[in-house]
């Protein structure tokens, strides 16, 4: 305050001093006999620019660095306000770049960089064995047998705990609902180091087979379904039709495994015929290393090794949690970084052009005594203001961006999304990025803009002095073109890959199908017969819905996320070891409903009942593989390793192969059995009902819900929707990736086009005089356009060349995200280069056409 007041006072005094100088000069001239007006005019001319003199004098007062900075900032704000177009373009370009980068950083930081929200989470490991030779075990883990044998023998871990995820139906607490749950060993929460918010966790007694059913609730479920009632502990809730006592409630934000809503004790009943794969985590003992843990796991695997070859693995828990999104997140982060670089290059270019037009101002100021350092400082302050403003705006963009990202990302595909938010770290990042890029990209134009000598600047016009800057601006645009090309190539690859994914022949016709999936709990439907009766009841009701042409059922629907795969025995033939087929069970009419072609024989009918002889339908590739050149109808196969007389299934039909598990896996061999002939409830509980609609399948969904409710009002719907949306959901992630990278690359392309336009337009403006002379000397329009386009080619050719090299070097990181297209696909590269060249030509043509219309008279007069 006082400093400010003192400064104002001094300002007034300086004003008075300079005015008295002027007055004395006038008086003296008058005294010499000049006319008063002449004297005033002469004195004023002699005095020079009052404002500049004041400004220069004020600079001598110096003051503290803060005062000087405040002065620079005031002056900078004033200059920026004087050219609003420049300021708005620069600010919004930077804000977009910084905002997008910050948004991406926020996600990367929360998902990949921040430690998991458990105490000393870096000591948490996942313990697993891989079974490289086993055809059945595709995902590593620890078998229930191995877990029971070894759980108390680990020495390198202070605690270990096993769990397995599952689904459970909650009833009598609002609408029936299907929930993600986890069965966990006692000590899981303690291993993670998280205590319950209410009640207690599981003890060893809770693991006993036959012990009282108990459950621990997640915070979100507790709030949604139990009104955050703290007396819920000790009450009973109904899960899969069985009453469970609530033992406790976990605190907010506790999420392990990521999507579990509630936890039940893991009760292991070993069976010689079945293996259960468990997910085991452990807390590494202080001083123990991962290598020691691996060695211990390896040593403990003797029993397993007797059965199969195993590889022990100990992986930091965080890596297993974030696992497969790491690559795509890093790709996005790289892409967004390129956008930021392009944005900065663009603004640096704007600053350079501005510096050129302001060179006379700078030269005059420096002639009048302002030091170069002072001018550089002034220009850097101006840039810093731009970048800081953009950083603040960018933080806003980031908040919106993070929300949009999470909303657009396919559900459940971003792990730890509950932890994502624009926090102080992200804000600091935004500020750091803006300051860093601002200093680098703001300093170059400042140094360039003030370096020329006074005499050069004053004697020359802007036209003749831009050679050096022209090259720098050109280099920046070349860099922009190259970066944009890299991004565009990445985007084009992702889009092309997505298109190919969508073009995959699924083997069935999804259009017109609607799908309803349920999980019938064993507790309510104790026998296969009970389940089959329920299926039939639902099918009967579905078939009566107006607009339904066909209704059928399948336990593991293609692309439904679950599939049974196994080996088979063939009567009278040996098959290659490790030959696995998918094994769905279906109702009569399934193939017609799905639109799966029947090649030979017949479909299942109601006559293929539990009492009749067991039948099977095989897919074409099975028929070709097992009975090449033979008629498979009437042949016999079995699911049993050593089939008894009643275990043989007779082939009655051959159908087309279908993409069963995912759209990008190849179509798989399959054997189908009629659901009426399935005897294990395990293969009947999970059931999808498929209907083929006469019209729009979406219109049938309410009636389908009603049909299920009529059969069992307590049965929640697992999922419902059209088959087309189910198919789209399986490609939601590549679609999201393609869209996101596509959006980034469009921004990059637009920015690069603006950069090209700016540089070409500027070179036209500089050369108006020259163009005028050429036109006056008889150059035609075409010649002028050619001349301007030559400038464009000089930018484009090296830009595209560098971009192609860059793309070849970097798109390799995409290979794991791509489907049936190689990252160096030449057609894509050429296409992108042509597109970029076309856009650049359009951007460059606009100023070229303007140049061709230059009127030589005007150009020569004003040049």
């Amino acid at each position: 305050m006082i400093a400010r007041w003192r400064r104002d006072h001094r300002d007034r005094e300086l004003d008075e001093e300079l005015h008295s100088h002027m007055r004395m000069a006038i008086e003296e001239r008058v005294a010499r006999g000049e006319r008063r007006e002449d004297a005033e005019r002469a004195a004023r001319r002699e005095f020079g620019n009052l404002g500049v003199v004041k400004e220069l004098t004020r600079e001598m007062w110096g003051g503290g660095w803060f005062e000087r900075l405040a002065q620079d900032v005031r002056y900078g704000v004033r200059t920026l306000r004087r050219s609003p177009a420049f300021t708005i373009v620069a600010l919004s370009t930077l804000a977009l770049g910084i905002g997008a980068t910050t948004a991406m950083f926020t996600v990367v930081h929360a998902v990949l960089l921040r430690p998991l929200p458990y105490p000393r989470s870096d000591r948490l490991m996942r313990l697993a064995y891989d079974y490289p030779k086993s055809p059945f075990i595709t995902e590593g883990g620890i078998t229930d047998r191995q877990w029971v044998d070894t759980r108390s023998r680990y020495r390198t871990f202070t605690r270990v705990a096993a769990m397995t995820p599952g689904l459970v139906t909650l009833t009598n607490a609002g609408d029936p609902v299907r929930l993600q749950e986890a069965s966990v060993a006692a000590g899981l929460f303690e291993t993670l180091g998280i205590a319950p918010a209410l009640g207690r966790t599981f003890g060893p007694d809770d693991e006993r087979i036959g012990a009282e059913p108990v459950v621990i609730l997640g915070d979100a479920l507790w709030r949604e379904r139990f009104g955050a009632d703290s007396t819920v502990v000790g009450r009973a809730i109904t899960l899969d039709g069985v009453r469970h006592t609530v033992l406790g409630v976990m605190p907010q934000r506790f999420a392990y495994p990521l999507d579990a809503r509630l936890w039940r004790p893991l009760r292991i009943k070993l069976s010689p015929n079945r293996l259960q794969m468990l997910s085991v985590i452990g807390r590494l003992r202080d001083g123990a290393t991962r290598a020691e843990a691996v060695a211990e796991l390896d040593a403990l695997a003797t029993a397993e090794r007797a059965r199969d070859s195993v590889i022990a693995r100990v992986t930091p828990l965080k890596d297993t949690v974030v696992g497969d999104v790491t690559r795509s997140l890093l790709v996005f982060a790289g892409a967004v970084g390129l956008v930021l670089l392009i944005a900065c290059a663009n603004v640096a270019n704007l600053l350079l052009m501005r510096a050129t037009t302001r060179r006379r101002e700078m030269a005059v100021r420096s002639a009048l005594g302002a030091g170069r350092r002072r001018l550089v400082r002034q220009l850097v302050t101006e840039s810093a203001l731009l970048w800081i403003g953009a950083g603040i705006a960018g933080a806003g963009v980031a908040m919106a961006g993070v929300r949009a990202l999470l909303a657009l990302a396919p559900a459940g595909r971003i792990p730890r999304h509950g932890e994502i938010g624009v926090d102080t770290v992200a804000m600091g990042f935004a500020l750091g990025v803006s300051l860093g890029t601002g200093l680098i990209f703001g300093l170059i134009p400042a140094i360039r803009g003030t370096g020329s000598s006074v005499r050069d600047a004053l004697a020359a016009t802007a036209r003749t002095m831009s050679g050096r800057d022209g090259r720098l601006r050109g280099a920046l645009v070349v860099a922009e073109i190259a970066l944009a090309l890299v991004l565009l190539t990445g985007a084009a690859l992702m889009v092309e890959s997505f298109v190919r994914l969508r073009r995959v022949e699924l083997g069935f016709r999804p259009a017109g199908l609607a799908l309803l999936t349920v999980d019938l709990p064993d507790a309510t439907y104790a026998s296969a017969a009970a389940m089959q009766a329920a299926h039939q009841a639902v099918l009967d009701r579905l078939g009566r819905i107006p607009g339904v042409a066909l209704a059928s059922a399948v336990n593991f629907v293609p692309l439904g996320g679950a599939m049974v795969r196994g080996d088979i025995k063939v009567d009278g033939r040996t098959i290659p070891p490790g030959y696995l087929v998918t094994k769905p069970s279906v109702s009569p009419g399934y193939f017609r409903t799905m639109g799966i072609g029947i090649r030979l024989g017949r479909e299942f009918t109601a006559q293929d009942a539990s009492s009749s002889s067991p039948v099977v339908i095989v897919s074409q590739s099975v028929a070709r593989q097992i009975w090449p050149g033979m008629n498979p109808i009437g042949q016999r196969i079995s699911n049993k390793d050593v089939p008894g007389p009643g275990d043989w299934l007779t082939v009655v039909g051959v159908v087309d192969d279908v993409g069963q598990t995912s759209i990008d896996a190849h179509r798989e061999p399959a054997i189908y059995q009629p659901i009426q002939q399935v005897t294990q409830t395990f293969f009947l509980g999970h059931m999808s009902f498929v209907v083929r609609a006469v019209g729009d399948p979406a219109l049938l969904l309410p009636a389908m819900r009603r049909a299920l409710r009529d059969v069992d009002p307590n049965q929640p719907i697992g999922s419902i929707g059209t088959m087309e949306s189910a198919v789209s959901a399986t490609v939601a992630e590549p679609l999201f990736q393609a869209r996101l990278i596509g959006a980034f690359s469009v921004v990059a392309l637009v920015l690069a086009a603006i950069g090209i336009y700016g540089v070409v337009a500027y070179s036209v403006a500089e050369r108006t005089h020259e163009i005028g002379i050429r036109v006056a000397l008889g150059a035609g329009r075409a010649d002028v356009v050619r001349m301007v386009l030559r400038r464009l080619v000089v930018l484009l050719v090296p830009g595209v060349a560098l971009g192609v090299i860059g793309a070849l070097a970097t798109t390799r990181v995409l290979s794991s995200l791509l489907f049936e297209i190689r990252p160096n696909d030449p057609a894509t590269l050429i296409g992108v280069a042509v597109l970029l060249a076309a856009v650049a030509t359009v951007a460059g043509m606009m100023p070229a056409r303007r140049a061709s219309r230059v009127d030589p008279l005007v150009a020569l007069r004003t040049g």
Binding site: E13, L14, E16, E17, L18, S20, H21, R23, M24, A25, E27, E28, E46, F47, G48, N49, V52, V53, L56, T57, E59, M60, W61, G62, S366, A367, L368, G369, G371, R372
Partner: protein, 121 residues
Amino acid sequence: MAKPQRGLSRIELLQGTLDLIVLQTLRWGPRHGYGIAQMIRASSRDVLQVDTGSLYPALHRLEKSGAIAAEWETSENRQRVRVYRLTAAGRKQLDAERSRWEQLSEAMAGIFAPPAPEAEA
């Protein structure tokens, strides 16, 4: 011989010279800005015309460095004018800079003088 100053820009050289001229002018007594400008002009026989954009920054710079002091006085036609006078520090600075200047001009004179015969073989 004065130590050669490296990296001095032309502007700074001019500044130094202007400081010397201003100090020298004030040696003959306190004066206001306009008076100083007039006096420089007169005593250099109109060769040096200091423009206000250099003079006032120089005056305020010298005031800040303590070489000169300023106060407001009322002139004979009853106007407030800011009058500068040399301080003791200014006098010392003037002496120093003048001897430097003299050395420089001697050196310059030497350079322009016909070369002396070589003394050594």
